[in-house]
Point group: C2
Chain length 328, copies 2
DNA sequence: AATTGCATTGTAATCGATTACATAAACTAT
DNA sequence: ATAGTTTATGTAATCGATTACAATGCAATT
């Protein structure tokens, strides 16, 4: 069932049918009614491959995620969805699993005009490549911008967040503060580590290599990292984790070492995923305004969709530090 | 940059370029080399909108999820990805948020030939509509088949799983066993409730309406449902939850009521998501073979992609009941 | 009655690929 | 040398839409 068939059934031309579909005003009311009736009757949906080819757009955007195994993205996606809905734009999600080849495969959808733009949550591509991509296509990075790339992005001030967390720990009397970071998300990890280090130094403490562990992002990785941290000569009394999952792993390990988290030792996570209030002890965390991040990312992208010459913007949204039992 | 431009640069016809791209053997080696060189030099990627229009296929499939806020789907997706990769098929994910209009919007991608098939994890559509859809397009339901629809699907035996869980509780001496179920996922909820009810009856216990609460699927919903359950005259000594999130909410609520979970009262979840071993107490759960579910779903779909006349299959994979501290 | 203007509608080109068919060139067999 | 094959390439139709432009019919104006 194509537009041709509909035209035949209506005894009119494809042009007229197309006009009706696209709500062109130059169609007689009587004709419009007839055509709409036939379309309705046959449940006709115009083939968007044909349409895309002709119009060179798809009314779709790609959301590129590093993984689905993280609650974190779900709420951001809602933010994107909310705005995209208003704009009549559909969202397709693809998962890279942190693999460059997969990333490239899906980014090709931009070249192929299968999507009109992309909001990406992680890229392995070099800064120059990202700059180039963003020049050619509407492209926005969310949460994890590529350092040195000229591209629109929206983030929270990761450095400041951890700087504040760490300073707060120091104020509370902690002298040995550890950090469980990662080795995958360059931007966020580096800025958080920098915040950590600067807070130490600004408050007259020494930065100790042994207190920073690089880890993957699962619960068990947090546990393992904590085991390492607690086995050193002068173990930490506070642990800053770059994700809630790591923090949960950390708490679990500490508990099995007989520590009382929140009393003997403090632990804080990042992202404030919903588990934080249901875990025991409840978990302190740095909250990102996830819904807003999504909305803002879409806004940035939408500007580019209207006109890709729109200058790039770097938007920073504010975070909140939420203290719960694990840092009492 | 289109195939035409490449042809011009090579001083050959578009047909020849197309042949090279599609690895047709009827091309002289010298020509092939020349064309490949130009393609390489210009980083040419054939526009797949044009290609799709002509070939009427996309080498893409749609994975339709009800939500991203559930770890559960992530591992299944890996199973799908593993097989799809082998087959050279790309995966696009769309999230319905349980909304029918959104579901329909994305299913239209099948009509529009933007994807060649779909693996769906949730449908609100009526059985007849699903049957019709599955007749027209390669379509597979995973975990949550539509009751009464003629369609390929892969699931675990939800009824049996809960039947076993419940029977086990009874054997351990529990007389008041509650269930926190939901009101969204018809198939799984109904079969699990049936398993629960049948186990009670087969073991000479009475089914008590007050012991079944319908709930949404977040942590806090589990807590709320538990509050209700514990406030009735003769409260339960065991709670079966249809998801791990509900179980976590339940445990949290029980703890705040001063109960020792695993001792005073038993709680079991469903899906065996990774948090189960990191929660305190560790959570018992019914494990589904998630990776295999994904792989099998893809296999079923792939058969249909080859030939959509392939008869529908209903595949049942086996579950495992994992006991941890919460049921000790 | 002729001219003009406007509202509708149709014709055909176009988007970027694939592919059936035609054709030309080169090679083989007699 | 000739007819028949094989190989390589090109021409043009096609997929399903949109849209510039042309054409038509009708009413209003002169």
């Amino acid at each position: 069932m194509t537009i041709k068939d509909i035209a035949k059934l209506c005894q009119t031309s494809v042009a007229t049918v197309s006009r009706v579909i696209n709500n062109d005003q130059n169609v007689a009311d009587s004709t419009r009614k007839k055509v709409l009736a036939v379309i309705e009757e046959h449940n006709f949906v115009p083939n968007s491959t044909g349409r895309n080819l002709r119009t060179q757009k798809s009314d779709k955007i790609l959301v590129l995620l590093p993984t689905m195994a993280n609650q974190f993205y779900s709420r951001i996606l809602h933010g994107i969805e909310a705005k995209a809905e208003e704009a009549g734009i559909n969202i397709l999600v693809a998962v890279t699993n942190l693999e460059k080849s997969t990333e490239l495969k899906y980014l090709d959808m931009l070249h192929m005009k299968q999507v009109d733009g992309c909001i990406s949550f992680f890229n392995t591509l070099e800064p120059e490549k990202i700059t180039e991509l963003a020049q050619k296509f509407p492209f926005v990075q969310c949460c994890e911008p590529t350092l040195g790339a000229d591209v629109s992005s929206v983030v929270v001030d990761n450095r400041q967040a951890i700087y504040d967390v760490c300073t707060d720990f120091i104020k509370k009397g902690h002298k040995r503060i550890a950090m469980i970071s990662g080795d995958y998300y360059k931007y966020s990890e580096q800025s958080r580590e920098r915040g950590y280090r600067e807070a130490l130094i600004d408050n007259g403490l020494k930065f100790d290599d042994d207190l920073v562990v690089k880890s993957f992002y699962r619960y068990k990785d947090g546990a393992k990292a904590t085991k390492t941290l607690m086995s050193i000569e002068n173990p930490p009394t506070a642990i800053i984790c770059v994700s809630d999952a790591l923090a949960i792993g950390a708490v679990k390990e500490l508990q099995s070492l007989g520590k009382q988290v929140g009393k003997d030792i403090s632990v804080i996570g990042f992202d404030n995923t919903s588990i934080t209030s249901f875990f025991s002890p409840t978990l302190s965390s740095v909250a990102q305004p996830r819904f807003d991040l999504g909305q803002e990312a879409f806004n940035l992208l939408y500007d580019k969709l209207q006109n890709n010459e729109t200058p790039n913007k770097k938007v920073i949204l504010s975070h909140t530090i939420i203290h719960r039992e694990s840092t009492m």
